[in-house]
Symmetry: C2
Subunit: 308 residues, 2 copies
């Protein structure tokens, strides 16, 4: 799957991923009205609104991008109905041949981590039958529990050619609270980065490993160091756009081959119609605004990479 991601990045010339993190406040009134008209102001109504919103954005952007990253929390908040919309979104993106990064940030130990891994990336056995319940291509994983928590994911990745992105240095303001603490004079995130490189060693694709890392666009200096610590790992970079990251900040997340990073934007794309810059599209054409925002993001990053 890491090779498919690379192929798609090279084909689209767009090392970007669209974060499908729908909040009801991003969803145009006409879509909410229709969904609530059909199902009432219920969890099912909310899930339907999310799904219709996603579908239109996917339809208008899938040819420009290699991958999407649905944030499961935004679906899980609406309970079972919301999770059904998550599943529908994953399936639809795969129909459109997009690589799907499930932003699930799961992490537990032993058989529990294995359960998350088979549920999201692998297959689960029921009697003689086997099922792939969520079947994302990649999942994000939390490293706090150490190798016991990661190894079951790596095993499933090897078997099913899927991948993970391990949280290393997250994009939020307080990420340093624990991640930056110095251990033998070096920040904790560097130690986590070293483990990411090690976990990836025995599950390599052609040029990159199945084990990637999450490093926030908001921390470009740290990204530069982590790029060197994990030369064979793809870095998933959140925090572009709405969180403050710019194309020029991102060049050091990439390797010399122009690969090795994929930059996420969520709100900046899916809620583009609410920005002054794209207001001209109007609420009804929200997905066209998203397409324009994708084109601008690709342009911004390409320019930055050419000028480095």
């Amino acid at each position: 799957m890491i090779q498919k991601l690379i192929d798609k990045i090279q084909k689209t010339n767009a090392p970007i991923v669209v974060g499908l993190d729908p909040m009801l406040s991003y969803i145009p009134a006409q879509i909410q009205k229709k969904a609530f008209g059909e199902y009432g102001e219920t969890l099912k109504g909310a899930a339907e609104a999310i799904w219709q919103f996603n579908k239109e954005i996917i339809d208008k952007t899938y040819d420009l991008i290699p991958a999407v990253k649905p944030q499961i929390a935004m679906y899980e908040q609406f309970g079972i109905e919301g999770l059904m919309a998550f599943k529908k979104t994953v399936d639809y993106c795969k129909e459109k041949d997009l690589v799907v990064i499930g932003d699930v940030k799961r992490g537990d130990i032993g058989s529990t981590s294995a359960a998350y891994a088979v549920g999201h990336l692998g297959t689960v056995k029921v009697g003689e039958k086997e099922y792939a319940p969520f079947d994302e291509d990649f999942a994000t994983v939390n490293p706090y529990l150490g190798t016991d928590g990661i190894k079951p994911f790596v095993d499933v990745c090897k078997e099913h050619k899927k991948g993970i992105f391990v949280l290393v240095k997250t994009s939020n303001p307080s990420s340093g609270e624990f991640q930056d603490r110095l251990v033998d004079g070096r920040p904790l995130y560097e130690l986590v980065g070293e483990q990411v490189a090690k976990w990836g060693e025995d599950c390599m694709g052609e040029t990159y490993s199945y084990v990637g890392a999450v490093v926030g666009a908001t921390y470009p200096e740290q990204g530069k160091i982590l790029r060197k610590i994990m030369p064979k790992s793809f870095i998933l970079v959140p925090g572009y756009g709405a969180q403050g990251g710019k194309g020029a900040d991102l060049v050091h997340f990439f390797n010399e081959d122009g690969l090795g990073a994929i930059v996420n934007s969520s709100r900046g794309i899916i809620a583009a119609w609410k920005q002054e810059k794209y207001a001209g599209y109007g609420e009804a054409n929200f997905a066209e605004a998203s397409r324009a925002a994708v084109e601008d993001m690709i342009q911004d990053i390409s320019t930055a990479l050419q000028n480095r």
Copy 2:
């Protein structure tokens, strides 16, 4: 909710929690056969088997215990159908007046953490209506992302009188990989413990805060220190029984008031019928075996607490 947990512990005289972490291999053949007969060897069949298994264990133990801790991964691995069994289990336990600790180990940042918090502990708005999608009483939360990840949970806890248990020192063998790393001469888990105490300061119940911690029974020395660092936090202690922790190891997780800790056992209770010790109950009476294992666990911990 922390007060309800305390009241129930005092009423049952049992500072324990039963981990509802069903694996298909724990579920007696007759239950699986019936479920698969009805729904086939499908995800729905697996979910039905889990639910029937849980129900019987709850029915046979609920009067002895204050709380249960369903591990969501074991349900999530069966996709949407599995998550419906999770929800059914939560609802049924609440009907039985048990305190429900959702072992979800979620953790993200800002609005994303808020989405998890409302989905699991609070209420979500859809138009003019409000819903409590999963409605557990407590949730476990991962601290790696810092205060940005925890604060939204704390806010929801305050509003809805719910609680969280933050992972501090987990029970698994490799938990030390990052958690034990020395920061200014002190292990990282102590720093996390200090934050737990701080996060809990402004959301106190009568005697304990809504913000608890997870510290593994397998690390009694660390538990002793963490007990002092977080005097007002309940400690949820996994790792008893199957993972190796014994009653005598646990005394220092408790405060002088005999409170402050709640000890989890999962496999040791729900799969008791597979142990030699309880084999006499036979597969058909698996839930009676679970009841006996609960009684033994209460006895073991009571004795240890009396002898300290």
